[in-house]
Subunit: 307 residues, 2 copies
């Protein structure tokens, strides 16, 4: 197995100035897998309730996502409702019903434990650790988290950080985590906490929303802008789509060198830029490899200059 | 004459968390000229009072700035005081004493009227128009402005826009000016208002602070990040240094093609990134061509990837 993601599968209610969706397939593992499926065959480990239907599943299956690790539990699937401001810059959470996600305890099927690439979605660091302990010998482990865990489980989060290779975080979170306003300094500080000795060099990706991202390795920095989209419809899932494209590309190419990491960032950003063009996962479900190829070329035109 | 800038020369009182300066040489035309001097021999047109000394002038002269168009008037030189927040993201204006700048009426010496490259610093659009009417046949005209003029002289500003080729504006100002949140749409709208028919294709540069810039021409977009600086000391003058580097590079190369405009943006951003490393114009006074060369190479490393 090449690529495994552990995270959430959810039902999203989304309100934007441009439309709304009810009980749309959502959750970090869903967006991640759909985005990753353009480069690799991702497997997901998550939990759903008995209200999760075959129709919901079909969206993932149609993209070749391996759902054999999707746990079913008695109760309701994690449900989330959010409403965006007129400029999409602010999001108000209308409700969060954890349902079966509240007692989620990721159990990896035997086949999943040997995955080469693992992405730990934004769940409790204790669960992330638990997943790590089940793995036999991953080549590269990626990590997402959020400010809530920085405040409420800082000790466990720091243990996880020591065991991962690639950490994806928002700029605001990076600042909060390090109490350091300057991003370059914050990045250095976080890199110092990271990295499994026997694997690849620690890499930190700081997401800057519409402005793109900064990627850091010791003595190396890369910036990629967000793709300028004229009609952003729904930012939900953009971060998870980025991570999916990124990890999918790495799993496909099996190269953790700096140059290839840059390409993986471009792949991830391309998927994120598609994601926001329609409500929920709609656009991810439509795109074709040629669309991605074209956007990668557009990214190059957008950023390159001859010195 | 190659490059002319019309703007302000001022005394700045600057307070930052990292130090302070009193009566330091400031103003848009000062920063612009110092930055431009690394590529061209800029001439400035501005006004100072009788408190402006030979020592102040020497900073400009040392960089080969032509000050023959610097008007002297009875009274005090424009003085400004500002204080930055701990993270440098907010600036509080402590005082603004216009002094002789209040009655500034730019008079171009005969030699200045034939300049090939003209940059209209942030002054009343009526004065900008007045300068434009004094010019014989500039090859390229750049423009800066601010939200104050958008609100208080929108009619005159729109007339100026029709006569310029290169407009440099902040993202917040672009949104305010067009009442359009999406930057791509805002840019299209502004480009539609611009451009002297007989000269080059209209170009819009939207500055995004620490995030860098987006440059737009019809059907073309370019993004350049801000250079990640670990120790930002003082953001004063960064925008004017950018404009100076940009216009200086264009005046030197005399090429308004898209590829060269990108290079000009890199040159401008390099100068802006130096500017913020020390208080006031201190860093601009120290740097050498080799520093600039190195930073241009660093910009390439920061942004380029192999597809």
């Amino acid at each position: 197995m090449d690529l495994l993601v552990v995270g959430s599968v959810a039902f999203d209610d989304i309100q934007t100035p441009f439309g709304q969706a009810k009980r749309a397939l959502g959750g970090s593992a869903s967006y991640f897998s759909l985005a990753a499926s353009f480069f690799a065959r991702p497997s997901l480990v998550a939990v759903v309730g008995d209200d999760f239907t075959q129709t919901n599943l079909r969206v993932l299956l149609a993209h070749g996502v391996d759902v054999s690790g999707l746990q079913r539990a008695k109760g309701k699937t994690f449900a989330w409702g959010g409403k965006y401001s007129f400029d999409l810059n602010n999001r108000q959470t209308l409700f969060t019903r954890l349902g079966v996600f509240e007692n989620f305890s990721p159990k990896l099927p035997r086949t999943h434990k040997s995955a080469n690439y693992l992405f730990l979605g934004n769940i409790h660091p204790r669960l992330q650790l638990d997943v790590l302990h089940q793995m036999t010998k991953p080549k590269l482990v990626g990590l997402d988290t959020m400010n809530f865990w920085m405040d409420n489980a800082p000790r466990e989060l720091k243990i996880v950080l020591k065991l991962v290779d690639l950490f994806v975080i928002n700029d605001g979170e990076a600042r909060q985590f390090t109490k350091q306003h300057n991003l370059v300094k914050a990045a250095r500080q976080i890199l110092g906490l990271m990295g499994h000795k026997k694997r690849t060099q620690p890499t930190l990706i700081v997401k800057q929303g519409e402005y793109g991202l900064l990627m850091f390795r010791q003595n190396q920095t890369f910036h990629l802008p967000g793709f300028p989209i004229e009609d952003v419809i729904d930012p939900t899932g953009a971060g998870d789509s980025f991570a999916g494209g990124l990890m999918g590309y790495l799993a496909k190419t099996n190269d953790h060198g700096w140059e290839n990491l840059k390409r993986a960032c471009v792949a991830g950003s391309a998927l994120a830029s598609f994601c926001v063009e329609k409500l929920g996962t709609q656009r991810l479900q439509q795109i074709k490899p040629t669309h991605i190829k074209r956007r990668l070329a557009d990214f190059k035109r957008l950023t390159h200059f001859e010195a």
